[in-house]
């Protein structure tokens, strides 16, 4: 028996003879089965090449445990550095009204003239005061809806006020407006340009796919109106300031390559292949729009390989894979609220409803719309910052929401790259902490992470260059044909 000390790690079999090992700081190694057995049984010779590898990646230490401990702790701290950016993403629901009626809409969009669902200027000012109490130096304010451009005065008032406070506090504020674009005006776009407001819009794919879900109030597709405004927006605000998101439905699940082709044709700077959020309207219509998470994973990995192939010609990252590859291959934290441990709900992102109610995540707000205010943290107009962000509710929710202490996550090899979502857990099981086995969240992330490690295991030089070009956002890393 050799005297080395084994450091914490998790493992899984990727194939008959390949064991994937991931340690506490997210470093990974593939090991042949026989070597793995020798290692865990403390019989791997310390002179072997594998031992040196395991030691250099801190899966074990021989003499100086203290140094190995310090190194691991430093990397662990870096991976959890998102905790220091408390709370960076703030979403303001400017109105629940919308000019569209999309099939999968999660916000129970109100009619164009239902002004009672508008955020008032007074509430918006209180919300911004609260946002600027967050310790973060770089608050990001996202205007959401409904369709936020329908309550434009409140958007402009919020931006002007936030800019003023940011100047006073020497903070770096940034803005994003989530808009379907179809009703946006030239003067609104000019305001966005003047105040550096990024535009996040929705494009589900080519005309037939987009129009199958994204419809106006009379049920007509919105593709043409969208295209016209997309062009204007890009002209006025700049191409790099207009990004689009897609939602995969049963209509597009088998046509994801067509969706990608449409994004490439339009010169988009990448794509985020998103699965359908099974709540709100979409839950009622899941029979027509939905699919199993297993089939999403299968199709996602299929189209990811297609996108990697495309990158031999054109720089075009898939953004979810980019995010996960960054977690796998770099030591840094990635700010993705949906996939953090402890959960990012409330501590990385918060959402302010039109009436000032504060929620840790969008699903929590939807739940409240359905009558369950379990996750309401308070109201920006009446509660103090301390009550909301240092209150019992958020503390309790966060302390239970760690992969490190959840079953079976605590034993899962993908733990270092995954996260928890107490709101989703509550929606699905009635409890914030649940056994994650067989949950759609787990099926999705386990399936995709396994697929990504498989890509890494088999990657040739070109594939590796493509992956690194995505992580570093540096197209020139790939020598293109």
């Amino acid at each position: 028996m050799n005297q080395y000390t084994i450091f914490p790690f998790q493992f899984a079999r990727l194939s008959q003879n390949d064991i994937l090992m991931v340690n506490e700081c997210g470093d990974f190694l593939f090991l042949p089965e026989d070597i793995f057995q020798l290692f865990v049984n403390h019989t791997l010779p310390e002179t072997s090449e594998y031992f040196c590898k395991l030691k250099s990646h801190i899966f074990c230490a021989d003499e100086n445990i203290e140094i190995a401990l310090q190194k691991t702790a430093a990397r662990y701290r870096t991976r959890k550095s998102f905790l220091r950016e408390f709370t960076s993403l703030h979403m303001m629901v400017i109105t629940l009204r919308c000019n569209q009626h999309c099939e999968y809409c999660q916000v129970s969009c109100a009619d164009r003239d239902a002004h009672k669902y508008d955020m008032s200027k007074e509430t918006a000012i209180k919300v911004i005061d609260m946002i600027f109490q967050s310790p973060t130096q770089r608050p990001k304010i996202e205007f959401q809806g409904g369709e936020p451009t329908l309550n434009w005065d409140v958007v402009t008032a919020s931006v002007l006020y936030a800019e003023k406070i940011a100047l006073q506090q020497n903070k770096n504020v940034s803005f994003v407006i989530c808009t379907n674009l179809t009703g946006i005006t030239t003067s609104q776009l000019e305001f966005c340009k003047d105040h550096n407001i990024a535009i996040s819009t929705s494009l589900d794919g080519e005309r037939s796919i987009h129009d199958s879900c994204r419809k106006d109030k009379s049920g007509r597709g919105t593709y043409d109106a969208f295209m016209e405004k997309l062009e204007t927006a890009r002209k006025i605000v700049g191409e790099d300031m207009v990004g689009a998101l897609m939602t995969t439905t049963a209509f597009s699940l088998n046509k994801l390559k067509d969706v990608v082709d449409e994004y490439v044709r339009l010169g988009m700077d990448g794509i985020f292949i998103r699965s359908l959020n099974p709540y709100g309207f979409a839950a009622e219509q899941s029979a027509t729009l939905g699919y199993s998470m297993e089939s999403f994973v299968e199709k996602y990995l299929e189209v990811l390989k297609y996108i990697i192939g495309l990158n031999a010609r054109v720089f075009f990252p898939e953004q979810f894979a980019t995010l996960l590859f960054s977690r796998i291959l770099s030591p840094f934290a990635t700010g993705f609220v949906d996939l953090q441990s402890p959960s990012g709900a409330g501590i990385s992102g918060a959402i302010y409803d039109f009436d000032g109610s504060v929620f840790p995540a969008d699903e929590a707000r939807m739940l409240a719309r359905m009558g369950d205010r379990h996750f309401c943290l308070g109201n920006a107009a009446t509660s103090s910052y301390h009550d909301i962000f240092a209150g019992r509710k958020l503390k309790e929710m966060t302390s239970g929401a760690c992969v490190e202490t959840t079953f079976p996550c605590a034993f899962c090899v993908y733990q270092a790259f995954c996260g928890t979502d107490p709101v989703r857990n509550y929606l699905e099981s009635g409890s914030e902490v649940r056994n994650m086995s067989h949950s759609p969240f787990c099926i999705k992330h386990k399936g995709i992470l396994r697929g990504l490690f498989d890509i890494l295991r088999k990657a040739d030089d070109m594939t590796k260059d493509i992956i690194w070009s995505w992580i570093t956002y540096n197209p020139s890393l790939v020598r293109r044909i």
Binding site: P8, Q10, I65, R77, F411
Partner: protein
């Protein structure tokens, strides 16, 4: 850690006998949980220091014997995980403690 596989004559269920001297209660339960979406599972006392695990597909399809081999491999892996957790538990605590202690 000797194990014994058997298939029921009707081909719908498969069983394995596992030694409790080698596989802990937690290990048996956690691995069973992994199969519980697709299979009905029962765990019964067998001979001394042995249990019989019986699996039956929920969709009524024939049982594939390979699942038993896979199940036993999962048991071995899980027992290894539990053993390792014990071994590096203290180190993990220290890593977290160091990581979140104030930087001097």
């Amino acid at each position: 850690m000797a194990t014994l596989f058997s298939m029921n004559k009707d081909g719908l269920t498969g069983s394995l006998v596992a030694s409790t001297a080698f596989f802990s209660r937690d290990c048996l339960l956690m691995v069973s949980d992994n199969y519980s979406k697709e299979y009905y599972i029962s765990i019964d006392a067998h001979e001394e220091e042995q249990v019989r695990v019986t699996l039956m597909k929920k969709d009524g399809e024939k049982f594939d014997e390979r699942v038993l081999r896979e199940f036993i491999n999962e048991l071995i892996d899980f027992q290894t995980r539990l053993m390792l957790q014990k071994e590096f538990g203290e180190i993990r605590k220290k890593i977290v403690e160091y990581a979140f202690s104030p930087v001097e």
